[in-house]
């Protein structure tokens, strides 16, 4: 293993990425609730307050609109704030600032103003949490022009995609798969990364394409393993970016396999899978052997923890969708 390759948990990879950003650019700030001495409720900002001080790693009042609103002001002053929203379900007080101001100010100013703000949001379920701590609201942000929305699935992407998000002059909503925070992976801190908004084939296959991002990529790999035992060759695509979405990569894969199943934790209804299904149907109509199928959450509030296994896509539910697709 080269000296620049480390084996890091996903949360630690984000921590190291933040540290690198703070070290290399004096304009980068980290701000949010409990990101200081505590190091964040998931310890993602652990040690940063100690090393960079409260002027750059800022514990904020408990007011999400205030956090994002002041981050906008700091960005107007030339700073590059990286904001932490403590949990997915707590972003909504800031939704107004994100949608009406953060997303639109660049266009409103005819390009004269740039808002390089990153909003990190731990998202998704599977950790047995109470209400508002397990949601997947990415479609609510992907629907808003002016925002970019990404979600890494592994430690290396978490490290590099965050670097790229911070360097971007556009606001980026950075969805962190909280149930994968403790999953370890190799991170090469010198490897030149590919572009931020491109998908990646993480497993090649010929019979069907599974498209996912964030926490569902690992599940889809497991599904592909299980399907392989039954003699089926599934291709797994890690979309990585929800807006913009790399439709070219999905199209290329579907033209090869003829079948597509999209998997996300977010509710299926009006979810990102719906957009992918519509566009891929349009792009690949004569290649498709089956309708694009979706596996995701139900049109119901995220359930109490004892029921989340029923609600979340799992191996059997995705395999069931694979079977249905292949049965056409």
């Amino acid at each position: 293993m080269s000296q620049t390759v480390k084996n890091l948990a996903l949360a630690k990879a984000i921590n190291e990425s933040l540290r690198r950003a703070l070290e290399t650019d004096p304009k980068v700030l980290v701000m949010g609730e409990d990101v200081g001495k505590l190091g964040g409720v998931f310890r993602v900002t652990d040690g940063l307050h100690k090393d960079f001080g409260e002027d750059r790693v800022i514990d904020t009042p408990l007011a999400e609109s205030g956090i994002v609103g002041t981050a906008i002001g700091l960005a107007l002053r030339g700073y590059r704030p990286v904001v932490e929203i403590q949990f997915d379900g707590f972003v909504f007080p800031a939704y107004d600032q994100i949608v009406t101001q953060l997303a639109k100010m660049h266009a409103r100013s005819l390009g004269r103003v740039k808002l390089p703000v990153v909003i990190r949001i731990p998202y998704g379920g599977g950790i047995g949490a109470v209400e508002h701590h397990s949601e997947s609201p990415e479609a609510l942000f992907a629907h808003v022009a002016g925002l970019k929305v990404v979600s890494p699935s592994n430690a290396s992407d978490a490290y590099w995609m965050l670097q790229q998000a911070i360097q971007s002059d556009d606001p980026v909503i950075f969805f962190e798969p909280k149930r994968r925070y403790w999953d370890k992976g190799e991170v090469d801190t010198e490897a030149i990364p590919g572009p931020l908004h491109t998908a990646r084939v993480v497993r090649e296959g010929t019979d069907l394409t599974l498209a996912a991002y964030g926490p569902m990529v690992k599940l889809c790999r497991e599904v592909a393993d299980a399907a392989a035992e039954e003699g089926r060759s599934l291709e797994v695509l890690d979309l990585r970016s929800v807006s913009p979405l790399d439709f070219d990569a999905v199209q290329a894969s579907v033209e090869k396999t003829g079948r597509l199943v999209v998997v996300h934790e977010a509710p299926v209804f009006f979810g990102s899978g719906a957009e992918i299904a519509a566009r891929i149907t349009e792009r690949c109509f004569y290649h498709l052997e089956a309708p694009v199928l979706r596996v995701g959450g139900y049109h119901a509030p995220y359930p109490p923890a004892r029921l989340e296994e029923e609600y979340l896509p799992d191996l059997d539910r995705v395999l069931d969708a694979v079977d249905r697709s292949l049965a056409y």
């Binding site: 002027d55 994002v68 609103g69 002001g73 639109k104 005819l110 390009g111 103003v113 970019k148």
Partner: protein, 398 residues
């Protein structure tokens, strides 16, 4: 310090007659608390007389040495701003603008506070700060693009340190606070001023801005123009306490100033900006004024307020008041007023001509500046739109 009559406060409801466990009888408070009398800083009476009041000496010291030239300049600012505003209202009536939000009646609050700012200060306005824009050197015709519908903000915010108009009520108070936090981090000695109105005082963002500014001791001045009406809703629907008193709960000073008194508005804003620059943190100024016109050209105030209220405020007109002062002290003669009249008409003419000549934006502007670093979907949709547009060329034989 002059004392206005305190608005009648409704008695609190008693605790519903529940028996107290201690057996002592609870009394219902019916009297206003001592010290809740509202203050009002005024340096120029509606009759144009200078007020010398020991209680306001600290504020007054910020305009003590004001010269006749400076007074005439303030008068000119207010007259030209009102003329521009009237022209914009006319242009809306003529169909040249889709909407206009008039500042009529608020000239003193805006010119006084706007002229208190320094070049390196930064201003975050609402959509009604035409007088402040004037003070910052923004060409008034640039304000009209968004009201004509050719853009959503037609000036460079960093050109004059005057941010774009914010339409969502109160959002900019947080932007100003964040900007001020950045100023402090930079070690600069400039200050930031956030404008908003009495309606915005009800928004959570404004309270959050107050709190962030206080917690971080940010060099920001909150300038609330209380023009008495948030479209159709009076102050009674927004607040139970005079707005300036809210500052106390957040831990910084609040001052109510006569917003129709340009001298007092200038003095109090200079005071607040000065202490912000010295590192003493935020302050709230409530400029007590009146929206003489409608909320916007789409509004009809006759449905919710009486003409006699307007008449009472006309007697306190900010421009008339300074004119009386200038005339009484012999600071301005007929020639000055005559020249200003001609300048006003020239401004009106220029605004009219520029607006009428303002071209519609290029249809592809929809796709411009959605992102700073580009976005694949925007590119794709632009190409589709171009192809669709091009399809007409064939059928038209172009």
């Amino acid at each position: 310090m002059t004392v206005e009559s305190t608005a009648a406060r409704k008695p609190r409801r008693s605790a519903g007659g529940k028996a107290s466990t201690t057996g002592t009888k609870r009394t219902t408070r019916t009297t206003a608390k001592k010290g809740s009398e509202t203050q009002l800083v005024q340096l120029l009476t509606p009759e144009g007389k200078r007020v010398k009041n020991a209680a306001d000496a600290e504020y007054a010291s910020y305009v003590d040495g004001i010269t006749a030239d400076e007074l005439r300049a303030l008068y000119r600012d207010m007259v030209l701003t009102r003329r521009f505003d009237a022209e914009a209202t006319s242009l809306q009536r003529q169909g040249e603008l889709g909407l206009w939000a008039s500042l009529l009646g608020q000239e003193a609050a805006q010119i006084g506070s706007g002229r208190a700012t320094r070049e390196d200060d930064y201003v975050f306005p609402t959509y009604r700060e035409h007088g402040v824009a004037w003070c910052r050197g923004v060409d008034p015709t640039n304000l009209l693009g968004m009201f004509r519908g050719v853009n959503n903000g037609g000036w460079d915010p960093n050109g004059n340190n005057f941010h774009l108009y914010t339409i969502v009520i109160g959002s900019q108070a947080l932007h100003a606070t964040g900007y001020a936090m950045g100023v402090a981090k930079d070690g600069a000695d400039s200050a930031v001023i956030a404008y908003f109105g009495d309606g915005a005082s009800s928004q959570g963002d404004v309270s959050e801005a107050f709190n962030f500014a206080a917690v971080y001791n940010a060099p920001v001045v909150f300038f609330c123009q209380n023009n008495q009406w948030a479209i159709s809703e009076s102050n009674e629907k927004q607040t139970r306490v005079p707005l300036y008193q809210r500052a106390q709960g957040f831990g910084f000073p609040g001052v109510r100033v006569d917003g129709n008194d340009v001298l007092a508005s200038l003095a109090v804003t200079r005071w607040a900006l000065d202490r912000a620059r010295r590192g003493e943190g935020p302050a709230l100024i409530e400029a007590f004024t009146y929206r003489m016109g409608a909320h916007t050209t789409s509004d009809d105030p006759s449905r919710y307020r009486h003409d006699d209220e307007r008449a009472a405020w006309e007697a306190k007109d900010p421009i008339l008041r300074l004119r009386r002062h200038l005339e009484a002290d012999g600071h301005a003669d007929e020639a000055f007023f005559g020249e200003l009249e001609a300048e006003s008409e020239a401004l009106g003419r220029r605004v009219r001509e520029v607006v009428r000549a303002m071209p519609d934006p290029d249809r592809f502007a929809v796709f411009e500046n959605v992102y700073a670093d580009g976005h694949a979907l925007v590119d794709e949709e632009r190409a589709q739109f171009a192809a669709y547009q091009a399809s007409f060329a064939d059928s038209e034989g172009v």
